[in-house]
Amino acid sequence: MAGEFLKKVSDEKLFLNVDDPNVDNWHGQWVSVNEIVLNLYYDFEEIKRVRTFLRSYETLLHATGCKSMNIKERTQTEDDVLSSFSRQTAVMKIFDEMRKQGELTDIAFVASFRNQSEDDEHVVMSDVEKERKLTMDPQVLRSEPLGVSVTSEEPKILGELEDLDSDSDSDSGRVLKVAVRRKKDPSGLQGPRPLDTATTDEEPKVAGAPGDVEADRMLKVGVRLRDDGGPQAKLKEELEPVAAVDEYSDTDTDIKPFLRAHRALLAAAIPYFRDRMKGWGDSRRRRLPFHGTDFGAKALLGEYLCTSSAVHH
């Protein structure tokens, strides 16, 4: 009965739409049922959500003709689906621990700061000058693609992470520089040569440090952190080869961050890798350039390679 009466005054501002009438300011909070919608999470222009206090009169609002957003509540089955995702099997857990320790990994993702041709094992070196400064800015990357390749050889790179914090040119915040270097390979073999930090007395040196004559090539990776504090800080990378790159063979450019993984696990989870790894042609290659993967997928991996603490330098 009351409903019929109230519907006639649906334009009247009869309802106090606040969360807590004892605390909230009442001014301007009186609304008509035509202005409010039940179950809305946020206001949208002149449509207002029903706040906590008024929501306790939901039945009255319904009787008055208040509109409501219809939402589908999740069923138990969907809850089960959700919880099943958080399951990391025992085997996966073991593999994950091994990955973090770098044990028995048989494949590595390697960021290569140069263009790669589709069919190439022999990677085409592009203009060094152009690559002297690569940034992770998507617009720049579109013109200067960051290659990511998979290698079955596990690169071991002697590297050092130093917070130089001394880039006075930078007004955008802290600069973290990473210098990695690799000893010259006396055997003349191509590809990255393992250099185990545990078995050498040498201390890794920052690229460009005086007396660092053993390093035959170095790469500086500067990670520029925008100084806006929080976890949302955007990362911007500058990758700058600092040695005279021309003196060295293409394979020496393998000095770069890499991400260890287990071939079996990748193949089990990702059809793309399963297909790539069983192919005859691919199985003989040291490198697997990614065919047909889009820019974004490569860039994401490249970015992760350059910024993640889980990555080996």
Binding site: Y41, I47, K72, L82, F95, A269, I270, Y272, Y304, A310
Partner: protein, 135 residues
């Protein structure tokens, strides 16, 4: 989150953004940004995990309903909107084969025709007034 992390853990975990609409939107974009990766790397389990997160875990379909108004507006061929964040949801769902997400969007739209109409009216009036901001 990299896809290798997902391979090794079978999951990903983002901190709950709370009730702030902007932070919710930010998380929504982060999750949507994983969809093309899942599609590119052919990882249905990752795609499904993203959909679950968007639809069930964070209830983004119902939390940001104006996306439906925008996307319907775009679908109807009206040159009414710049590419708004909300219409991106449908765009991503369709482009990267997130059918469960697309279905959830449709379901919401079918259950809430009155709201959809209202939102469309509001948007249309904003456009007529020439105050539609580029989002």
């Amino acid at each position: 989150m990299s896809f290798t992390d997902f391979v090794y853990t079978g999951n990903f975990d983002y901190p709950n953004p709370g009730d702030d609409a902007n932070e919710q939107t930010e998380l929504l974009f982060e999750l949507l940004d994983l969809l093309p990766r899942a599609d590119e790397w052919d990882m249905p389990s990752l795609r499904s995990r993203i959909e679950t997160s968007v639809i069930d875990e964070h209830k983004f379909v119902q939390r940001l309903p104006l996306q439906h108004a925008n996307s319907k507006c775009l679908l109807s061929g009206l040159q009414c909107l710049p590419l708004s964040p909300s219409s991106l949801v449908r765009h991503y769902a369709e482009l990267y084969k997130a059918t469960r997400l697309a279905d959830a969007l449709d379901e919401w739209a079918n259950q809430n025709p009155h709201l959809l109409k209202k939102f469309s009216e509001i948007q249309a009036s904003r456009i007529n007034q020439g105050v539609m901001k580029s989002e």
